[in-house]
C-alpha cells in the first residue's frame, strides 16, 4: 500500500516535470541537416572571413560555424582534437605554420590547385589563399628620401628609428627578418648583428604597432606587411610604401582540410569558392592583398611591380630556431 502511494507520487512528479519540458519552445525543426554544415577554424580577422563566409553560405546554403583565434591557438586546438575532429577546415595562418601541422591535415585532390600561381608554393596538404608581401614603410612627412632596399636599412640614417616587431612574437616579423637575411648578400649572422645594431635595441611588442610608430613620427621607417601598410594609408596615416629593390618575400596564408573531418565535401566546396575568381578578385579590390590565381595576377599591376626574391619556406622553417636563438642572444647580451 505504502509502495503504491510512492509510485503514484513519483508518476505525478514525472508527469508534471515532463509537461513543463514540453511547454518550453523548441526550434529544432529549423536546425540544418548535418550534410549542409561546415565547421571552420580561422585565424583571419572578422572583416575578412565574415563577408566571405556569408557569401559562401548564400551561394551554397551551407551553414558555417566559425571559431576564430590566433594561428597557433587554432592549430594546437586541431592537434588536441585529432582523435575526434571538431572542425572541418583551417582557414588562414601562414603556410609554414600549416606545413608544421601537416600531420593533422588531409590530402587535397590534385585538381583543386589548378590555376594557382606557381610562386605560391603548393603542398598536397594545404593551399595558399592570399599573398602577403613584406614591405618597408616610411613617414611621408618626415622622410624625403626613403630607403630603397633592405640593404639601405643598415644605413646609419635609420639607426634607432626603425619600427620593427619582435620576430619572437610576430610571425610576419620573422618572415621579414628572413627576407632581410636573404636579400642582403653576406654572412647571416653578421647581417643579423648589423640589423640589430641599427635597431639600437628598439623592438616593438606587436606587429600592430609598426604603422602607428612610423606615422606618429616615433620611428622614421618600419617593416610590415603590405596589407597592414595599405590599410594604414586608407585610414589616413601619413606613411609611404617601399617595395625593396633587392626583392621581398610574399609568403601566402593558407587553407587546409582537417583529417577525418565530418564535412569534407562542404570543406572542398569552400576551398573551391575561396580560390575562385570572385573571392580572389575581392582580395585585391577590398582586402589589400594579392591573389594566388595566376589569371588574376596579370591584372594585378601592383603585384607585377613587386620584386620577389626566392623565399624558401622550408629553409625559413628549419632555420627558425637557430635565427631566433641568435636574436635572443643579442637581446640578452645588450
Amino acid at each position: 500500500m505504502k509502495l503504491n502511494f510512492f509510485a503514484l507520487l513519483l508518476c505525478f512528479v514525472i508527469a508534471v516535470v515532463s509537461s513543463t519540458a514540453a511547454a518550453s519552445s523548441s526550434a529544432d525543426s529549423f536546425a540544418p541537416d548535418d550534410n549542409i554544415r561546415l565547421v571552420i577554424y580561422t585565424s583571419h580577422k572578422v572583416e575578412i572571413y565574415q563577408p566571405i563566409i556569408r557569401e559562401f553560405e548564400q551561394r551554397t546554403g551551407i551553414w558555417v560555424q566559425v571559431t576564430s583565434g590566433g594561428t597557433n591557438d587554432m592549430l594546437r586546438q586541431i592537434a588536441l582534437e585529432s582523435d575526434y575532429a571538431q572542425a572541418d577546415l583551417m582557414f588562414g595562418g601562414g603556410v609554414e605554420s600549416l606545413d608544421a601541422y601537416s600531420d593533422y591535415f588531409d590530402e587535397l585532390p590534385a585538381d583543386i590547385g589548378e590555376g594557382l600561381d606557381t610562386h605560391a608554393t603548393v603542398s598536397g596538404k594545404w593551399l595558399p589563399f592570399s599573398l602577403l608581401p613584406v614591405v618597408l614603410i616610411y613617414n611621408s612627412k618626415l622622410v624625403t628620401r626613403p630607403p630603397e632596399s633592405w640593404a639601405n636599412l643598415l644605413d646609419s640614417r635609420w639607426s634607432g628609428r626603425i619600427a620593427y616587431a619582435s620576430p619572437d612574437i610576430s610571425g610576419s616579423s620573422y618572415t621579414a627578418l628572413v627576407t632581410l637575411l636573404l636579400a642582403i648578400p653576406g654572412d647571416d649572422e653578421e647581417i643579423l648583428r648589423l640589423f640589430y645594431q641599427s635597431l639600437e635595441g628598439k623592438v616593438l611588442e606587436s606587429s600592430g604597432y609598426v604603422v602607428d610608430a612610423v606615422s606618429e613620427g616615433d620611428c622614421l621607417v618600419g617593416i610590415t606587411l603590405e596589407e597592414t601598410a595599405l590599410k594604414g594609408i586608407a585610414a589616413g596615416k601619413e606613411i609611404g610604401i617601399v617595395y625593396p629593390a633587392d626583392g621581398t618575400s610574399s609568403v601566402p596564408d593558407g587553407i587546409a582540410i582537417i583529417k577525418d573531418c565530418a564535412h569534407r565535401e562542404n570543406a572542398l566546396a569552400f576551398i573551391r569558392f575561396v580560390l575562385g575568381a570572385d573571392v580572389q578578385r575581392r582580395l585585391i579590390t577590398s582586402y589589400y592583398r594579392h591573389s594566388v590565381l595566376s589569371a588574376l595576377m596579370d591584372d594585378d599591376t601592383q603585384a607585377q611591380e613587386i620584386q620577389l626574391l626566392d623565399y624558401d619556406i622550408q629553409w625559413a622553417s628549419v632555420q627558425k630556431d637557430r635565427i631566433l636563438m641568435l636574436w635572443n642572444q643579442m637581446v640578452a647580451g645588450e
Partner: protein
C-alpha cells in the same frame, strides 16, 4: 533500513514525524515550482505567439508586395528598354519606381542597376551611381536566378531584394533591387508592435540582419545560432529572455521575438535556492522536533523496559520517576505501585516462612522432651519392678503409654485406641485416688473403629475425675457412645458434685473462652471445631449436686474413609 526503523519505537516515531512534516514541503518544492515556472513560460509563449502572428503577417505582406513589384518591374518594357538601349523616358521610369514604392508601403529604397552593377535610377535613399558588385552578394544571386532573391545587406542596408532583367537570349540586361534599411524596418515593425518586445530578423542561416536594439543584435543572433546548431534550447546570451522563432516564407528569413521572461533564470535559481534553503531549515527543524518528540515519548517506555529488566533480576526497589501527568505518567505510577505491593507481599511471605520454620523448630524441640520423659518412665518402670513396687511400675507403664500415644502416630486415631489410652489414664488415677471411683466404658463394637482426634476424651475423663468424683468414695464414671443424626456422640458421665451454672453456660455457649480450670475442655472443643467445623464440639448437661454428662459431637468417620480424606493436619 526498514528493519532498522521498525526495530525501535523511538526511530519509528522519529521517521513517521519526519515523513509527515517533510512530505508536504517536498511536494511543494517538486511540483509547485515547476508548475509555476511552466505556467509563466506558457503565458509568455502565448503572448509571443500572438505578437509573432502580427509581425509575420506584416512582414510577409511587405515581402509579397516586394516580390510582386520586382516581377512587374523586371517584365516592364520601359525598364527593359532603358537597360537594353541605354535610353529611357526618365519621368515615366521614375513614375514606375514611385508606383512600386507606394505598392510596397514606402519601406524600401529602389534602384535600377545595369549589367555592371552601376545604379542608373534610384529613389527613396538609394544613391544614383552607386555600385553593387555583380560577382558578389545580391546581384550575383539575382543573376543566378529567374525569381526575386533576398540577400544580406551591406552598410546601412539590412537586406536586399533583387531580380535580374534578362533580354531575349536570357542574357543579363540589368537588375532591379529593393533595399531596406533600419529605418524602413523600424517603421514596418513599429506599426504592429507597440510592446517592449524585441524583434530580430535573421537571414536563412540565422545570421543577424536586424534587431530592434541594434547594439545587441549581433551577439544575440550569434548566441541563438550557436544554440540552434548545437541542438540546445534557445536562451540567447543570458537567461533573461524567452525566444520565439518563425520562418518568413517568401524571403526565407527568420523572425525572432524576444520577450523578457516573467521568471528569469536568476529568479528561478533564487526560487530553487530559497526552497532548498527552506527545505534544509525544515529538515533541521523536523529533525530536531521529531527527535525531541520521539525521545519524549520513548524515554519513559525505555525506562519502564529497563525497570522491568531490573525487576526480573530481582531488584524490586527500583522506582520510575513520577513527574508526568499523562498516560505514561500513570503507567509509571502503576508500575511503582505494583512493585511496592509485590515487595510487601514478598516480605509477608518471607515472614510467614520464617514463622513456619520457627514452629517446626519448636515442634522438633517439643518432640525432644517427651522422648526423654518416655525413656525415663521406662527406666522407672523397670526400677519399680526391680524394687518390688508394682504400683510404681504400673503407673510408670501407664504414663509411658499415654506419653507415647500422645507423641506418636497420626492425629486421628480409632476410638478403640483412644479408649485404651483412657484405660491407662484411669489406672493411674485409680492408684492416685485409691480406687474410690469406678469407670465403665460402654461403647458398641461398631463405634470402636470410628476415628477421633487423639486425646480428645482424656480431658473429659480428667474433668470428670478432678471436678466430679474426686471428693467421693463411690464415684462412678461412664463412657458411652451413640449415633445421632449422622454424628457420633461420645459422652462421659459422672455422679459427682455437678457443675456450677456459669461453667455449664460457658460450655454450652459458642464462645468457650473463659473456662478457668476447665481449660482442657476448651482445648478439646477447639480441636474438634478446627478439625470438623463449628457444628461439632462439646456440650454439657449438669447442675450443682447432680450427675454431669459432657458429650463430644464428632462426625462418623470409619477408618477406611481416611484414605480418601486427609484429616491429618
Amino acid at each position: 533500513m526498514k528493519h532498522w526503523i521498525r526495530r525501535s519505537f523511538k526511530t519509528r516515531i522519529f521517521f513517521t514525524v519526519l515523513l509527515v512534516s517533510l512530505l508536504p514541503l517536498i511536494i511543494c518544492d517538486v511540483i509547485m515550482l515547476p508548475i509555476l515556472i511552466a505556467h509563466s513560460e506558457q503565458k509568455l509563449a502565448q503572448e509571443s505567439a500572438q505578437q509573432m502572428r502580427l509581425i509575420q503577417t506584416a512582414l510577409t505582406d511587405v515581402m509579397d508586395s516586394l516580390n510582386r513589384s520586382l516581377r512587374e518591374l523586371s517584365r516592364d518594357k520601359t525598364v527593359f528598354t532603358m537597360f537594353s538601349e541605354n535610353s529611357a523616358d526618365d519621368s515615366a521610369l521614375y513614375a514606375l519606381l514611385f508606383q512600386a514604392a507606394t505598392n510596397t508601403g514606402n519601406y524600401a529604397g529602389i534602384g535600377l542597376y545595369d549589367d555592371q552593377g552601376i545604379c542608373r535610377y534610384a529613389i527613396n535613399g538609394t544613391n544614383l551611381g552607386s555600385v553593387l558588385p555583380t560577382d558578389w552578394g545580391v546581384l550575383y544571386a539575382a543573376g543566378q536566378s529567374a525569381e526575386p532573391v533576398y540577400a544580406d545587406g551591406s552598410g546601412d542596408t539590412v537586406f536586399y531584394a533583387a531580380i535580374c532583367v534578362r533580354d531575349e537570349e536570357q542574357a543579363i540586361a540589368g537588375y532591379v533591387a529593393f533595399s531596406l534599411d533600419d529605418n524602413g524596418i523600424d517603421r514596418l515593425f513599429s506599426a504592429v508592435n507597440n510592446t517592449p518586445t524585441d524583434i530580430l530578423l535573421l537571414n536563412a542561416r540565422w545570421e543577424s540582419l536586424y534587431h530592434t536594439r541594434s547594439s545587441q543584435g549581433d551577439t544575440v543572433a550569434a548566441a541563438l545560432r550557436q544554440q540552434l546548431l548545437n541542438g540546445e534550447k534557445l536562451t540567447g546570451t543570458g537567461g533573461e529572455f524567452a525566444y520565439l522563432v518563425e520562418k518568413e516564407q517568401t524571403s526565407g528569413f527568420f523572425i525572432v521575438v524576444q520577450n523578457p521572461k516573467i521568471l528569469t533564470d536568476t529568479i528561478v535559481r533564487a526560487f530553487y535556492l530559497i526552497s532548498i534553503l527552506m527545505g534544509v531549515l525544515c529538515l533541521l527543524l523536523c529533525f530536531w522536533g521529531a527527535w525531541l518528540l520521539s525521545r519524549h515519548l520513548s524515554r519513559p517506555i525505555q525506562e519502564l523496559s529497563h525497570a522491568m529488566g531490573e525487576v526480573e533480576r530481582g531488584r524490586y526497589e527500583v522506582r520510575l520517576r513520577e513527574n508526568r501527568e499523562d498516560e505514561l505518567g500513570l503507567l509509571s505510577k502503576g508500575f511503582n505501585r505494583m512493585t511496592r505491593e509485590y515487595l510487601l507481599n514478598l516480605k509477608r511471605s518471607v515472614q510467614r516462612q520464617k514463622e513456619l520454620n520457627d514452629t517446626r523448630l519448636r515442634m522438633m524441640q517439643a518432640q525432644l522432651n517427651p522422648h526423654f520423659l518416655y525413656n525415663t518412665l521406662d527406666s522407672m518402670k523397670w526400677l519399680g519392678a526391680a524394687n518390688d513396687m508394682p504400683q510404681f511400675a504400673e503407673m510408670a507403664t501407664d504414663l509411658a503409654f499415654i506419653l507415647r500415644s500422645s507423641i506418636t502416630g497420626s492425629n486421628l486415631i480409632p476410638l478403640q485406641k483412644e479408649l485404651e489410652l483412657i484405660e491407662h489414664y484411669i489406672n493411674i488415677q485409680s492408684i492416685r485416688f485409691e480406687d474410690r471411683f469406678t469407670c465403665e466404658i460402654d461403647i458398641a463394637e461398631r463405634y470402636q473403629s470410628c476415628l477421633v482426634p487423639k486425646l480428645v476424651l482424656q480431658p473429659l475423663v480428667e474433668n470428670a475425675i478432678l471436678h466430679g468424683v474426686a471428693g467421693q468414695d463411690d464415684g462412678y464414671i461412664k463412657i458411652s457412645a451413640h449415633e445421632e443424626a449422622n454424628a457420633l456422640i461420645v459422652s462421659v458421665s459422672d455422679n459427682g458434685c455437678g457443675m456450677p451454672e456459669e461453667v455449664l453456660e460457658q460450655l454450652n455457649s459458642p464462645d468457650k473462652r473463659i473456662l478457668g480450670e476447665h481449660l482442657g475442655l476448651h482445648n478439646v472443643d477447639s480441636i474438634i471445631k478446627l478439625y470438623f467445623g463449628a457444628s461439632y464440639g462439646i456440650t454439657a448437661d449438669s447442675g450443682l449436686g447432680r450427675d454431669t454428662r459432657v458429650s463430644v459431637r464428632l462426625p462418623v468417620i470409619r477408618k477406611e474413609e481416611t484414605d480418601a480424606q486427609d484429616f491429618d493436619r
